[in-house]
């Protein structure tokens, strides 16, 4: 379900939340931000997708953090358990917790944005802010091509199975299958894009001079003020963090 916010408002909100969480570097805050993002996602009806995507990203990351810092953390003083070179220390675990929650909060907040934003509105809003139309083109085209290409890959696979291709378990067989599927996919894509370039040129894309937009995106003044406030807040948070860390911290 697309959000009713102006796309730049939700982008600013997500970006600022991520920056402020990073600047604070305080795990209870990170957890709170992550929870809030998850709740908002569920309320927006995209909870399942956001959480699934976040889990795919965060679980491997969290595991490797635990493995690395939970077991091998040279600065660890408080040893909970030790097996040879591997030592579980309180400091290591807290480091892993800190890094993991911070990344988790950022990931959830940004995923919430990307799963609720309406891509056409975002592109229209960016174009209205004077970004080159080429940027919007690449962004939007990739987002629409992605599902289309997945469908195309299925079509290639089906057409080739109908020719008697059977993918077996062996490495060689799989390599052959990948090559066999890639050739029509890539050639087809390049041929299409050649035609598309001619069509875009013919339709006046990229001609110098002003462009206009058919799609109108509402941007109420309240949201503009909200964005400005958020940017100021984030700037302050970064400045505070810089101020706290600037004189290069001495060695502990």
């Amino acid at each position: 379900m697309p959000s009713t916010l102006h796309p730049l408002t939700s982008l600013t909100a997500a970006g600022c939340a991520a920056v402020m969480t990073t600047a604070a570097g305080h795990w209870p805050l990170s957890v709170a931000v992550a929870l809030a993002a998850a709740l908002l996602a569920i309320r927006a009806g995209v909870g399942r997708r956001v959480l699934a995507a976040a889990a795919a990203v965060l679980l491997p990351l969290g595991l490797s953090l635990l493995m690395l810092h939970g077991l091998f953390f040279p600065e660890g003083r408080t040893v909970l358990a030790a097996w040879g070179p591997a030592r579980v220390t309180v400091e290591g675990l807290s480091f892993a917790l800190e890094a993991g929650t911070r990344t988790g909060a950022c990931v959830l907040v940004l995923l919430l944005f990307s799963f609720t934003v309406s891509a056409p509105d975002l592109v229209a809003a960016l174009a209205a802010r004077g970004l080159p139309p080429q940027f919007g083109f690449v962004l939007a085209s990739a987002l629409t091509l992605l599902p289309a290409m997945a469908g195309r890959l299925d079509a290639v696979r089906a057409a080739q199975e109908a020719r008697g291709l059977v993918v077996r378990g062996g490495v060689v067989s799989r390599l052959v299958a990948v090559r066999v599927q890639m050739v029509p996919l890539v050639l087809g894509l390049m041929e299409d894009s050649g035609n598309r370039a001619q069509a875009l040129d013919a339709r006046g894309f990229g001609t110098p001079g002003p462009t206009t937009s058919y799609r109108e995106v509402q941007d109420p003044p309240a949201q503009r003020r909200f964005r400005a406030a958020l940017l100021v807040l984030a700037g302050t948070a970064v400045a505070l963090r810089l101020g706290a860390s600037w004189p290069a911290p001495g060695f502990p």
């Binding site: 891509a119 056409p120 592109v123 139309p133 919007g136 083109f137 939007a140 085209s141 629409t144 091509l145 289309a148 195309r152 079509a155 290639v156 089906a158 057409a159 080739q160 199975e161 109908a162 020719r163 008697g164 291709l165 059977v166 993918v167 090559r179 066999v180 599927q181 050739v183 029509p184 050639l187 087809g188 041929e191 299409d192 035609n195 598309r196 001619q198 069509a199 875009l200 040129d201 013919a202 339709r203 006046g204 894309f205 990229g206 001609t207 001079g209 002003p210 462009t211 206009t212 937009s213 058919y214 799609r215 109108e216």
Partner: protein
């Protein structure tokens, strides 16, 4: 008007430059197709001495001369690979001299004449300005779309946005064009969800929204069902009525090009004849081009510019509706799921095996299927209690409108889709549990888009792929035989992607034929084939049936179905009815 064939005089000097009176420099104002004044004067002229793509040695076009009169329909006819598309893209600014290839000749548009000598001093075409006056709609209508607009309305507006048209004008113009193209009810739809016919009309809308004087349509009727054909033909006559010159590139003489004011025949990249249809319809030049001549079927909606001679002349002789010989005599090999390695040569079949009623090669028993629901609504079943039996040697055609589930049905025949209820039996054996790649040993399925199937470096390697496992040492001979059967022997060393689309389709057919399946399943096999291609296809179907192969083909074209099959079935409401 249109002159072709500069065969008599070396340099054609007759028409050429648009000498016609006050070149219309009016246009201006955002878009009105009807700004051109007198109908019949040449708005676009092309004199092409030669056009050669960069990297090619032979010219793609040679000695072609076109002059397009306003408010009239001009047809460029030719078989696959005759250079129609290259010509269309060249006059529409999609292929630009200098950038895409080398042109020696001249292009004239709206009183301006550009001379090209193939050197660095040649004028450079401004594609946006040129295409604003000459619209082109490619055969693959989806290639026209920007892919970055999420509704039909925005897609139509794309060309206006890029030209900086003010929003109120844009809204008005989009509404007018949507009305003209019959898309008014679809303005809020996502272009990716449109049907083939709707997509074609959207592409035309995108091309005419800038108010071009000339509109070039590349195979505008390809793979449209009857309703779509009527809509597009109606649209074309409305555009010509409004003063737009329309050029149709086609490899078929169908109801759309019959009423054209002028025909230009292309063969092998050169113009062989030009003139009014009634002079050319029986000409030897037309016969040579490989153009398919359809019987006129849908004349209802099209308002015609000139009288169309109605000729009932289907090129292919129908096998008529005689029952297959096989069924009467029953001398068929029980080919089906037999292992080809053990019994490789059909020639060594026993002479005569009396069998009053041979078992069906393909059987569907009360098959039901619906796509898994995607969360929004309960999916309507696509196939419902569907039964079908096809005997060896029988040719069955399945028709139905676009979206009736024809392709879904075909995918059940070789196990790409599995029925929810019922079962599919090939030669008496259920295929449930067999992977699709295994079923392919006895069921050969030809898909609609040959490009998806081809992956090898040469045509011969393409056909030979996987044959060794089936036929052992005979693989080479079988590959050659399959290529010969579709007339591609001379192209054995060509890259498949370099073949014209008609030959790509034949190559895909050859890859299926070479495996000698017991059941041959063809999805819209005739689409995009020129006459030579149709003849090869026809012979391949006949020969297969004569060998005892059960053939199932799906087509939207009822007349083609009747001309080809012993039995015609209609798929609607998830079931099959005899027609």
């Amino acid at each position: 008007m249109t002159t072709g064939a500069p065969t008599t005089t070396g340099a054609p000097t007759t028409t050429g430059a648009p000498t016609t009176t006050g070149a219309p420099t009016t246009t201006g104002a955002p878009v009105t197709a009807a700004t051109v004044t007198t109908p019949g004067h040449a708005v676009l002229t092309a004199r092409i001495g030669s056009f050669t793509f960069h990297g090619d040695t032979d010219p793609a076009l040679r000695d072609v001369e076109v002059s397009v009169p306003s408010g009239m329909l001009t047809a460029v006819l030719g078989g696959s690979g005759s250079g129609k598309t290259t010509l269309g893209k060249l006059v529409a600014g999609w292929l630009r001299p200098g950038q895409s290839g080398t042109l020696a000749g001249a292009l004239g548009l709206a009183g301006e004449l550009l001379e090209f000598r193939g050197g660095p001093d040649d004028p450079r075409i401004n594609p946006a300005a040129w295409a604003g006056r000459v619209g082109y709609v490619p055969q693959d209508a989806a290639a026209m779309l920007s892919t970055v607009r999420s509704t039909v309305a925005e897609e139509i507006a794309f060309g206006l946005e890029n030209r900086g048209t003010a929003r109120p004008d844009m809204v008005r113009e989009v509404a007018r064009i949507a009305e003209l193209t019959g898309l008014a009810a679809l303005l809020g739809r996502d272009p990716a969800t449109l049907s083939g016919g709707e997509l074609r009309r959207l592409a035309i809308a995108c091309a005419v929204v800038t108010g071009p004087d000339v509109l070039v349509l590349d195979e505008p009727l390809a793979s449209l069902d009857a309703a779509g054909v009527i809509l597009v033909r109606d649209l074309v006559s409305r555009l010509t009525g409004a003063g737009t010159a329309v050029v149709v590139l086609s490899q078929a003489v169908d109801g759309l090009v019959r009423p054209a004011a002028h025909w230009l025949l292309l063969d092998g990249g050169t113009a062989t004849a030009g003139g009014p249809p009634r002079e050319l319809i029986r000409s030897a030049e037309l016969a040579r081009t490989g153009t398919v001549i359809h019987a006129v079927t849908h004349t209802a909606a099209a308002r015609t510019v000139s009288q169309a001679p109605v000729i009932q002349a289907p090129v292919i002789q129908a096998p008529a509706a005689q029952p297959p010989v096989v069924q009467a005599s029953g001398i068929q090999r029980q080919a089906a799921l037999r292992d080809a390695r053990q019994e490789p040569a059909p020639a060594h079949q026993p002479e005569f095996q009396p069998k009053p009623q041979p078992a069906p090669a393909l059987e569907l028993n009360s098959v039901g299927f619906s796509f898994p629901p995607d969360g929004r609504a309960v999916a309507e079943p696509v196939l419902r209690d569907l039964s079908l039996a096809v005997r060896p040697g029988e040719i069955v055609a399945v028709t139905g409108r676009n979206g009736a589930g024809k392709s879904t049905l075909l995918r059940h025949l070789n196990g790409l889709l599995r029925p929810d209820t019922g079962e599919v039996r090939v030669s008496g054996t259920s295929i449930a549990g067999l992977p699709a790649g295994r079923v392919a040993a006895s069921v050969g399925l030809l898909f609609q888009h040959p490009r998806d199937q081809l992956f090898e470096r040469t045509v011969l390697r393409e056909v030979s792929f996987g044959l060794r496992r089936l036929f052992g040492k005979e693989a080479g001979a079988r590959a050659q035989a399959a290529l010969a059967a579709v007339g591609l022997s001379a192209d054995a060393e060509t890259h498949p992607a370099e073949l014209p689309s008609s030959k790509q389709r034949l190559l895909a057919l050859a890859t299926v034929l070479a495996r000698e399946p017991a059941v041959l399943v063809l999805d819209e096999p005739a689409v995009g084939l020129d006459r030579h291609g149709l003849e090869f296809l026809h012979r391949a179907i006949e020969d297969s049936a004569a060998r005892g192969v059960a053939v199932v083909l799906v087509t939207h074209d009822l007349s083609y179905a009747r001309a080809t099959a012993h039995r015609v079935l209609k798929l609607s409401g998830g079931g099959l009815q005899e027609l």
